[in-house]
Symmetry: C2
């Protein structure tokens, strides 16, 4: 068998979409219709069109599966093992996206058998190398939580400090000290109170905050 050189490859993007729901970090997965992974769960993705950049392809794909736009989206890693796709040579540029819990309105597209959120600790068996992709994304997410302000991309515009802390605790998988946590965010001026309060729960109403600066920043937090 002759060695194949300079063969064309197909470029795809796959996007690991995270959100917080029911006190858990969730990933959006789709169930595939077509062979060779019929009825397998996978991360949503698709081929890159000839006239769009990689980031645009990821954005389009994200919009098509979730209906959301303007969310945090970052390139993660490019997977190019020769045999990663039984269909042929497909190189996949993976992205990860963070969407606020509020924005969830899953489009029931007919491109997929179904679409569902899965808690990251209870993932099904996945097609391709998607298990690896997700674990890579999780690693990156955990790391960036500690030295950037991306956590804000997972929360609604207004949130309580308790919700912010839960966000960290859920993703990092450990308890944090309430007083130190609040001290940190307040002293760094990352959040400012809106004056409103969250009422309606069976306990003392919490002050609502919004982030002082919506832009991505690199700041040592934990």
């Amino acid at each position: 068998m002759e060695t194949v050189k300079y063969k064309y490859a197909v470029i795809a993007t796959d996007t690991i979409i995270f959100t917080l729901r029911e006190q858990e970090l969730k990933v959006l997965l789709i169930k595939m219709k077509k062979a060779p992974f019929q009825n397998c769960w996978a991360v949503p993705g698709g081929l890159v069109h000839g006239d769009e950049s990689l980031g645009d392809a990821a954005k389009r794909n994200l919009y098509e599966t979730t209906g959301v736009k303007d969310v945090y989206l970052e390139q993660l890693y490019t997977f190019g093992r020769v045999d990663r796709d039984p269909f042929g040579r497909v190189v996949s540029v993976s992205y990860f996206a963070l969407i606020p819990s509020a924005d969830i309105e899953l489009k029931t597209t007919d491109a997929y058998e179904s679409v569902r959120w899965f808690g990251v600790s209870r993932l099904p068996v996945l097609a391709y190398d998607h298990t690896e992709m997700i674990s890579y994304a999780l690693e990156r997410l955990k790391a960036k939580l500690e030295y950037t302000n991306i956590a804000f991309s997972l929360l609604a515009d207004e949130f309580t400090l308790g919700e912010l802390q839960q966000c960290y605790e859920i993703i990092l998988g450990r308890k944090l000290d309430k007083r130190n946590f609040r001290k940190k965010f307040l002293s760094l001026n990352l959040v400012t109170p809106t004056g409103r309060r969250r009422t309606g729960q069976a306990h003392r109403p919490a002050m609502l905050y919004h982030f002082s600066n919506r832009n991505y920043q690199v700041i040592q937090i934990l």
Copy 2:
């Protein structure tokens, strides 16, 4: 003009190769023979073969241009702007490599007009988006220097603490305190003395060290 969809793209890898020479951080560049960037300087790279993974392509390319193997090599970022290559749709997966000063034996391949080391602060105009690639690589290198042990990939097997410190100072672009620096590396047990000394210079001979653990580790250093 019709929109082109699902067109095949070509995958290339480009590798930013760093080394320390003459008290400077240097990048290896090649001068291109072919149009449309004839006589332009660029980062070495090439198309990915049909039967090799992305990492393998980068390794092969690195070996072909420098003759070195088994050096630090890490995927950096994937560049996919539609018009980044006037030749057609080429998506480039960039890597960065660190090679010890000792290993330099530039092969004068005839695939390129010439091959040369450039100090990172004196780069020529580059082809494609290679200027962006290098600045991205530099950012990553600086960041990783502070929280991993990759610096060791730039040094010979045996080195003095002075050389290690210079490595940090050159790349980070700032002076570090000698006592604090040594304290750090010794207390973390990252280096162990070999018992040998570096002689032959017009000053007190320095103890030679080697790294205690050659494997990549994530450790807060600075």
